[in-house]
């Protein structure tokens, strides 16, 4: 192996005495894609945040080209040639795409002071084209872009070349979690181009297939310690999972437990909102109905329509044969519909609240005394029960959720949805950022719920999840429903074709 371009030795970091990272050691060779794997909360993001200068390590050392460096501020990290795509989407919605690309960098200027907007937009346009995402207009406000497009802009920002500060290592923390498969493909193409030019990639993902496909080597973190670094060619998925978790887990979907019952739990007839039009389907009790489509096709919008987050502009919604009029999320939850929103940080979590506060939020009245006085004891007990059911990793239900790792935050949102024994469960990307083992746990849980007669709507950009978990799949295109197909016998290719508009 060549001398490492970037190396970390025994990095450690504790929060209030609880270690997040104990022995983070990595050696990145030039031109390689180095995967960093580990369970939720293993310390991957912590290690990355230290490299980025966003967090100070308690101990340990960082070497670039064999020389020890100290990274106090993100701008220092950039000068060392490190580029980051962080786990949580961090964009400035009020600024244009071009400005987001150039955030923290010198803009092209006129007279040495004033921003040269034309040049800025030109350079931005070039950067976007290079990533094959020229459909994004540089002068648009970031807020107007879909989540996937925003992620692509952040990725483009990391790839932006600058004079004098050549990038050497790109560090990506779950970049594909918010991307569709076509968007991911674009990213992989770019990664291939970069490594061909001798750049290195540190790549974090919970998607095994991806890692097996694009990585050269893999380092595994467990409980904050690097347990091994191996060439990808010398390791199997099963081995990797065992290194991460210390146990053997099938990377598969739990089997269907019982046939879907025939009663209708939820039915939509021509229901419309401002962004989803004329949606009609019947969700049977015990059925899992998937929703797919290209980015921005309106998958989320169906769920938002059902939960009452978006105003219904036409059509009807029935729950157990009862017509639901008007409606807000409050009345929908009371009707027995539970919801896991798409963006956990923006739409799901009270970041400063505890795990308990977050899980009982939708159930405060049922857990209260006389519907008025809060019953703290019941809140703690029920949230502890549900937390263990979703296998949440935390120091307890009183820990604030902002301290949890990304995957564990996702589990908190899920825990809230299933705490009240719902009649219908709406899941929008429920396993985004969740590790393999936990994903299996969640899938098992969803299956159990279905078997107990809950009707489930599952929107996911992970095609294998859709095929592995659902009974039927509803295909969306440009805000309209184009088909509902049985899952049995579907392939990912066929599903993608349907999304592109091929007739069923």
């Amino acid at each position: 192996m060549n001398a490492p371009i970037l190396e970390t030795r025994k990095l450690s970091k504790s929060y209030a005495g609880v270690p997040a990272l104990k022995d983070g050691s990595l050696a990145i060779a030039p031109g390689e894609v180095h995967a960093l794997m580990g369970e939720n909360g293993a310390g991957k993001s912590t290690l990355i945040r230290i490299l980025a200068g966003a967090t100070k390590p308690d101990a340990g050392a960082i070497f670039v080209d064999g020389a020890e460096v100290s990274i106090e501020h993100p701008s220092q990290s950039r000068r060392l040639g490190l580029r980051f795509i962080h786990q949580e989407l961090s964009v400035i919605p009020e600024l244009s795409v071009a400005e987001n690309l150039f955030l923290g960098r010198p803009y092209p200027r006129r007279f040495g002071i004033f921003a040269n907007w034309r040049e800025l937009n030109r350079q931005a346009s070039k950067a976007l084209d290079a990533l094959d995402i020229g459909h994004i207009i540089p002068s648009r406000k970031m807020a107007r872009l879909s989540l996937g497009d925003q992620m692509l802009v952040k990725i483009a920002a990391a790839f932006l070349d600058e004079d004098g500060e050549a990038a050497r290592v790109y560090v990506m923390d779950e970049p594909t979690a918010a991307l569709t498969s076509e968007e991911s493909e674009r990213l992989f193409k770019v990664i291939a181009g970069l490594t061909a030019r001798g750049r290195s990639i540190v790549y974090v993902s919970h998607r095994m297939d991806e890692v097996m496909r694009i990585a050269d080597r893999v380092s595994v973190l467990r409980d904050g310690e690097t347990v091994a670094t191996r060439a990808i060619s010398s390791i199997s998925k099963a081995e990797m999972i065992e290194m991460m978790t210390g146990r053997q887990i099938a990377e598969a979907y739990p089997p269907r437990q019982a046939a879907a019952t025939s009663g209708t739990a939820l039915s939509l007839t021509g229901a419309s909102s401002s962004s989803a039009h004329d949606i009609s389907f019947e969700l049977h009790a015990g059925e899992i109905l998937g929703i797919t489509g290209l980015s921005g096709a309106g998958q989320s919008d169906i769920l938002r329509l059902v939960i009452g987050a978006d105003k219904r502009t036409g059509g009807g919604v029935e729950l157990d044969g009862r017509t639901l009029a008007g409606g807000t999320p409050a009345t929908r939850w009371a009707d027995g519909i539970a919801y896991v929103p798409r963006e956990r940080r923006r739409e799901g979590l009270l970041p400063r609240g505890s795990v308990a506060d977050n899980t009982v939020l939708a159930h405060l009245r049922t857990l209260s005394r006389a519907g008025i006085l809060r019953n703290r004891r019941a809140e703690l007990k029920r949230s502890a029960d549900i937390a263990s059911r979703v296998k949440l990793k935390s120091t307890g239900v009183t820990q604030p959720v902002f301290q949890l790792s990304g995957g564990n935050q996702q589990k908190v949102v899920l825990a809230r949805a299933i705490l009240g024994a719902p009649r219908v469960l709406l899941l929008d990307e429920p396993t985004r950022g969740v590790d393999v083992a936990a994903k299996f746990d969640i899938h098992t849980l969803v299956r159990e719920l279905a078997a107990s007669g809950v009707g489930i709507l599952l929107a996911s950009s992970d095609l294998s999840e859709l095929i592995g978990m659902t009974d039927r799949i509803l295909v969306m295109r440009e805000g309209r429903q184009v088909a509902i197909v049985p899952t049995d016998g579907l392939t990912q290719t066929r599903l993608l074709a349907l999304s592109f508009g091929e007739p069923a």
């Binding site: 923006r346 739409e347 009270l350 609240g353």
Partner: protein, 321 residues
């Protein structure tokens, strides 16, 4: 250690201030009499700040409380002047407070105006009404019934001290009752927990079934009620009503809540912490006056101590990164 300072920085500050006065004014500061005085002096601010904590739990503000306090005092005084019996006049004034608060709430939650702008607008409107209906005049003298102004001068007898009895002033008692009620509401009811959820992340709370609009609407009503009550307490204490008399309350109430926020771990507004915020403001004013500190120097000291108290807890929070 750092954690302790972070959490208790403000509290340690309060204790240090109290000790300082105790040592420097040995005879009169640490007496029941003086503490009862302080409690009475801050009671109006306390009621405003306690009820302000309700909207601040949702991450909102109410800048109109001062104007509302003035308006409610004027409304009661005009009602007295028109011969309305005292209890009815009080209910009328409190009703105006609730109504004004609900207007704020409706603007914020149903119309969707930022609380800062909405209550800045109603601050002007309420104040305009206070001036308009009073004709800009101070209402005083025989227009104010003795039973009303007597309230602020009496209390519950506690124990004899020499020839005189020491009283727990009614104003103090009222402030304590409001504290208890707001504490129960915020910490021990579903309603209160939902307000904090809105403060934590409004969109998440809405999607999790919290009726955000109605809660914001009603919470502003409660703050308006508190402001009106404070206005009545003020009017009773000064035995008069004047269209500007509440104007000092708003910034002080917000300051008290913020001072309190430095004491809670998550930096959330908590009403018991607000209590300490009010206390520090009251103790500083009382102690520095007794030490004959020039009133302008007193002002500078109060500002500095606020900044220092908050700084001690903020600095140690920065360390946490």
């Amino acid at each position: 250690m750092i954690r302790t300072i972070r959490r208790y920085g403000t509290l340690i500050g309060i204790i240090a201030v109290i000790l300082f006065f105790w040592i420097n004014i040995p005879d009169t500061f640490m007496t029941a009499r003086n503490w009862l005085n302080i409690s009475q002096q801050v009671s109006m601010l306390a009621v405003t700040a306690f009820t302000m904590t309700i909207v601040m739990a949702m991450g909102d503000f109410d800048l109109s409380v001062g104007s509302m306090a003035s308006l409610s005092g004027i409304v009661a005084a005009l009602a007295f002047k028109a011969g309305v019996p005292v209890p009815a006049a009080i209910i009328l004034a409190l009703g105006v407070g609730v109504l004004g608060g609900l207007i704020n709430g409706a603007l914020v939650s149903y119309v969707g105006i930022l609380p800062f702008v909405a209550t800045l607008g109603t601050l002007t409107i309420f104040s305009g009404f206070a001036f308009l209906i009073s004709g800009g005049k101070t209402i005083f003298g025989t227009d104010i019934p003795a039973s009303f102004s007597g309230f602020a001068r009496s209390g519950v007898p506690l124990f004899p001290a020499g020839e005189q009895w020491v009283f727990l002033p009614y104003l103090t008692l009222l402030a304590l009752i409001v504290l208890l009620v707001v504490w129960l509401l915020l910490e021990h009811t579903v309603y209160g927990r939902r307000l904090y959820a809105i403060g934590g992340n409004t969109e998440a709370a809405r999607l999790a079934g919290v009726r955000v609009r109605f809660l914001r609407f009603s919470a502003f009503g409660l703050t308006g009620l508190g402001a009106a009550a404070a206005g009545l307490m003020y009017a009773s204490r000064v035995a008069s009503a004047n269209p500007t008399q509440g104007s000092g309350l708003m910034l002080s109430a917000i300051a008290a809540v913020f001072l309190g926020m430095t004491m809670s771990e998550e930096g959330e507004p908590r009403v018991l912490a607000t209590f300490f915020g009010v206390l520090i403001l009251g103790v500083l004013d009382n102690g520095l006056t007794q030490m004959s500190v020039d009133s302008y120097v007193r002002e500078i000291l109060v500002g500095t101590i606020i900044v220092l108290a908050v700084a001690s807890s903020s600095l140690s929070k920065l360390e946490q990164r």
